[in-house]
Symmetry: C2
Subunit: 239 residues, 2 copies
DNA sequence: TACCCTTCCTGGTATAGACCAGAATTTTCA
DNA sequence: TGAAAATTCTGGTCTATACCAGGAAGGGTA
């Protein structure tokens, strides 16, 4: 086949976007309404939406609730193996970080218990946060900290680095960790807290952390918008 | 709103899939035709396809060209920081690996040259391979090796581990590496070599490798089907 | 037996139109 | 002036239908 119309449409839209947000993208990076675009490119909304979905998959544009389509900002570079705080590396890349604490609680959590090798009834400090880059919500995360490692932790503030807290206030070493990353479709609470439709592409990052003495410290799950980050890991030495 | 019909459809389909491929999924893991499913769930193909796309995003099912929808196998666990060969870790997980060499050439390549700090005209040994797990093509990769590090490399066979070759035949150490991972939409050659539609969700992994003496050795790009793998990294020691 | 061709099945693309629900804006009125 | 209400705009969902193109399978032919 020559090539599907929506494919050529995708290419044309992509080119237009690369033209430094030129012509028909407004100052906020907002694209014209679907109906307008469909008309302009002489096709239906359905077909146009195929092209938009394609570009969304490429991480070039994203939708915000029912407000419209927007050009996606540069991906954030992120090294999940380092324990630099979110605020630090976002700032280091010239972006504006912000963290919101969504909830604090003490309760058991089976996946965390499993990952850390504790009994399923073991209570955890549960911290749930939402994090922004340049005022765009890019991830929600849940952290489950073993209370024995950091008694009284919930009295602290969590707008900043948890690990820094654990290191400086409780002198923990966080030496052993296992990290897993899986692509996912954001759903339920995660999707709605990020203000995206259920099914939006995301990346799930889980960490399990032990200290020097191999005592379990923390388990966490991050749910990122897929287009918001680029993972980068630097390694030295053969294994 | 109560909940979109296609959302409930997604849930019902997901449940049915989790029932150990029960009832209407055949032995090969093939789902019934879209038209059949649409009829069975009393909706249109368009709406049904929304639900299928949702499950595809979750990595539960995938489409094979125009043959139909299939249940996706378990994700392969993969640690990009280790240099265990593909064949080794696929086998270790009880799966069947296979590698096809698609092309061998000697030519310059700007991105590789950039990553390795060489001039853009610098020639590379270029190896392109397609790799299978249980006879499903899950990734295509291109490797650009610096000829000075492994003279005569192209005479070898590449159905197995390149790194093993470099270590054993050329005594290279591959100590310093930078790895980046980005979600992408598979396109062009990558998509067609994997037998999927342009725009299918994928994961792009790039490595830049230097040896003990900080001499550039190799640059490679892998394009994975997003539902085929789960990244897992194990780390020891604080940074 | 080996190959080619036809036919059928399946997903892929596209049209045209309708109504819904949340977000943003404007208007109204206390 | 300020808050509430109505309106408009935008994407989200859905129906019904049509035709296309690649894959698979069956059957016929050399």
């Amino acid at each position: 086949m020559a090539e599907a119309y929506y494919q050529r449409l995708t290419d044309r839209l992509r080119d237009a976007l690369l033209l430094e947000h030129s012509s028909w993208v407004d100052a906020d990076g907002k694209l014209p309404a679907e109906r307008i675009l469909a008309q302009r490119f002489k096709t239906t909304r359905v077909t146009l939406r195929q092209a938009l979905a394609q570009l969304e998959g490429e991480g070039r544009i994203h939708r915000s609730n029912r407000r419209g389509w927007f050009v996606s900002p540069l991906r954030l570079e992120y090294d999940p193996t380092r324990d630099a705080g979110f605020n630090d590396y976002v700032t280091a890349q010239g972006r504006l970080p912000r963290t919101e604490v969504l909830s604090l609680a003490t309760s058991p959590h089976a996946p965390a218990a499993n990952a850390l090798g504790l009994s399923v009834n073991h209570p955890f400090y549960h911290i749930r946060r939402r994090r922004y880059v340049d005022e765009r919500a890019v991830l929600v995360e849940s952290l489950w900290v073993v209370p024995e490692r950091a008694p009284g932790l919930l009295e602290e503030r969590f707008e900043f680095s948890l690990w820094k807290l654990l290191r400086e206030q409780w002198h923990l070493s966080l030496s052993h960790r296992s990290i897993s990353m899986v692509s996912e479709a954001l759903q339920g609470t995660d999707a709605s807290e990020l203000g995206v439709a259920s099914g939006t592409a995301g990346l799930n990052i889980c960490r399990t952390i032990f200290d020097d003495a191999h005592l379990p410290v923390e388990y966490d799950e991050e749910h990122w918008l897929h287009d918001a980050l680029s993972i980068r890991v630097e390694l030295k030495g053969t294994h």
